[in-house]
């Protein structure tokens, strides 16, 4: 669906992106990760035919962005970090305008709008003026305009920016609903959102691609492969870290006291060994307070890649 080869973009002397190469196959949901100023938005704007590259090639559905921008724009839906809205319009008239602009035939427009509103839960504000909607609703209207013409490729730049926690969960559910119908490229600062929504990650740092693959593949490449588990126990049991490290499949286990009478052990293993860990703790007579998969793995991968410019 997308083939990017040695893509660079310079603004004057400054390189926003340098020699980016990656590909995305049809139907994939790919997360684009990077710090502020890493080059995510520049890359997405080039893919959306809003910006021309300085060098390199970008093909969307086999078409080159510099040669066929109008043809490509028919096939993409683009949601920038600030939704492109006309505040004085109603949701219905705005989506009608967006659909007609994307060459949806007049006789199909109403059905397409109804479908987009259904997916983005906008039916109840169909006739409302956009300026009177909450930030969460405006973001949904932005998403609706991007999908109203059923594009093959959906490019979403920070779709959850500025949303409150409840709205972030809603947005994540909306993005889940888009899976299967479109190839999706999402840039986001919310690692949980990326982790739960995407099949694959592209990590960009200082304009260069520093990592790509699934979360597991990146973890393996960073030496953090397998399953990470966190265990919280009462007290500070001696030699428990050594006993955990001796379990089959465990590559690393270390503990740290979090208060006077609790200790947290972080265990890295090549398989899911939660049951074995639980049995060991019970047999060792420890008071088990918590046993969870580590949520911070993606965060750790991201920090390692963006601070060290890790392996690709």
């Amino acid at each position: 669906m997308i083939e990017v080869d040695k893509l660079s973009k310079y603004f004057g002397e400054r390189a926003a992106i340098r020699d980016l190469s990656f590909s995305i196959t049809k139907g994939e949901v790919v997360g684009f990760l990077g710090l502020n100023g890493a080059g995510k938005t520049t890359t997405l704007r080039i893919l959306g035919c809003l910006l021309l590259p300085t060098s390199g090639t970008v093909r969307v559905d086999g078409l080159e962005v510099t040669q066929n921008p109008y043809e490509i724009r028919r096939r993409i839906g683009f949601l920038p970090d600030v939704p492109p809205l006309y505040p004085e319009m109603t949701v219905a008239s705005y989506l009608t305008f967006a659909a007609r602009l994307r060459q949806v035939p007049a006789r199909e427009t109403a059905a397409r709008i109804a479908e987009a509103e259904e997916k983005t839960a906008l039916r109840e504000v169909h006739g409302e003026v956009i300026s009177e909607l909450s930030h969460g609703y405006r973001q949904r209207v932005g998403l609706a305009q991007a999908i109203v013409h059923k594009p093959a490729l959906l490019i979403l730049d920070e779709p959850s920016a500025g949303l409150d926690p409840a709205q972030i969960v809603e947005m994540r559910n909306l993005l889940h609903g888009l899976r299967g119908e479109h190839t999706v490229l999402i840039s986001s600062h919310f690692l949980t959102e990326i982790s739960q929504t995407c099949d694959r990650l592209l990590v960009i740092h200082n304009g260069e691609l520093v990592g790509q693959g699934s979360e597991g593949e990146l973890a393996t490449a960073m030496g953090q492969g397998g399953n990470a588990i966190e265990v919280e126990v009462r007290g500070q049991p001696a030699d428990l870290a050594e006993r955990l490290a001796k379990l089959p499949a465990v590559s690393k286990a270390h503990g740290r006291a979090t208060s006077e009478d609790t200790t947290v052990f972080e265990i890295t293993a090549s398989a899911d060994i939660r049951a074995e860990v639980a049995r060991l703790l019970v047999s060792a007579g420890c008071d088990l307070l918590r046993l969870t998969r580590s949520e911070s793995r993606l965060e750790s991968i991201f920090m390692n890649l963006t601070q060290a410019g890790g392996p690709q």
Binding site: Y70, R73, F78, Y86, P87, E88, F97, L101, Q103
Partner: protein, 242 residues
């Protein structure tokens, strides 16, 4: 429906749905009314109908240029300001459609404002005779002058990031195009001919004001409109490089 007309229709709706369009229309008509009463109808009592009409078109020409600057300032600068330009730029429409659509909407709105003042020349019928040919020529001149000023305003709006800056740039360009006529009065031939020919108002509008249509003047206003819109399209296309 073509993309140009689609954009023009939305833009026209924006003038009618927001206060700015009504405020500009109200101010133009109010000031035009005052000037008509004071400058055209006031003063000497035995004035000819054609002199009153000519004075009315002179007053209106200034207001048409001012209205053009204020109507056009939002066209593209507002889109950049609030980020909605991305909707147009990521859709399968050409820069030409965007610029022409925006210009067309402003021109239609300006035409509505201009024609709303038609009752003023009709008032001449109360105490005098009216040449409808003179009225038609005057209005043609106003619309051509408005078209050129709007195209310059569209260019200003394409160049600026904010509406205020767009109004300042457009205003400066329109004023420069008017005062270039003064340079013609202090220079010698053939240079002064160039300055006179370029002037937006001094040479090309007075014939319309007097009820005379010269092909030369019609071509001039159409050429300014074409050139300013052409540059606007190029500026918008070049923005994809930045």
């Amino acid at each position: 429906m073509t993309a140009t007309w689609l954009i023009a229709r939305r833009e026209l709706g924006a003038y009618l749905r927001t206060m700015s369009g009504y405020v500009i229309a109200a101010v133009v008509l109010f000031v035009d009314g005052i000037l008509f009463n004071v400058r055209a109808l006031g003063g000497q009592q035995d004035r000819l109908s054609t002199e009153v009409l000519s004075q009315f078109f002179e007053n209106s020409s200034g207001l048409v240029m001012a209205a053009s600057v204020f109507l056009s300032m939002r066209l593209l600068a507002e889109e950049r300001q609030n980020g909605s330009m991305v909707l147009l730029a990521s859709s399968p429409v050409r820069e030409r459609d965007i610029v022409l659509g925006k210009f067309l909407s402003a021109f239609i709105f300006l035409t509505l404002i201009t024609l709303a003042g038609l009752f003023m020349p009709m008032l001449i019928l109360v105490n005098g005779k009216l040449s409808f040919g003179h009225v038609a020529a005057g209005y043609l001149g106003l619309l051509l002058l408005g078209s050129a000023a709007l195209a310059i305003g569209t260019l200003g709006s394409t160049l600026a990031r904010s509406q205020l800056l767009a109004a300042i740039i457009s205003g400066c360009m329109v004023v420069c195009m008017i005062v270039v006529w003064m340079l013609g009065t202090v220079t010698e031939r053939p240079l002064n001919d160039v300055f006179f020919a370029l002037a937006l108002w001094g040479r090309h509008f007075p014939p319309f004001q007097a009820g005379i249509i010269h092909l030369r003047d019609v071509v001039y206003y159409l050429a300014v409109t074409y050139f300013a819109l052409f540059v606007s399209i190029r500026v918008l296309e070049a923005r994809r490089w930045r």
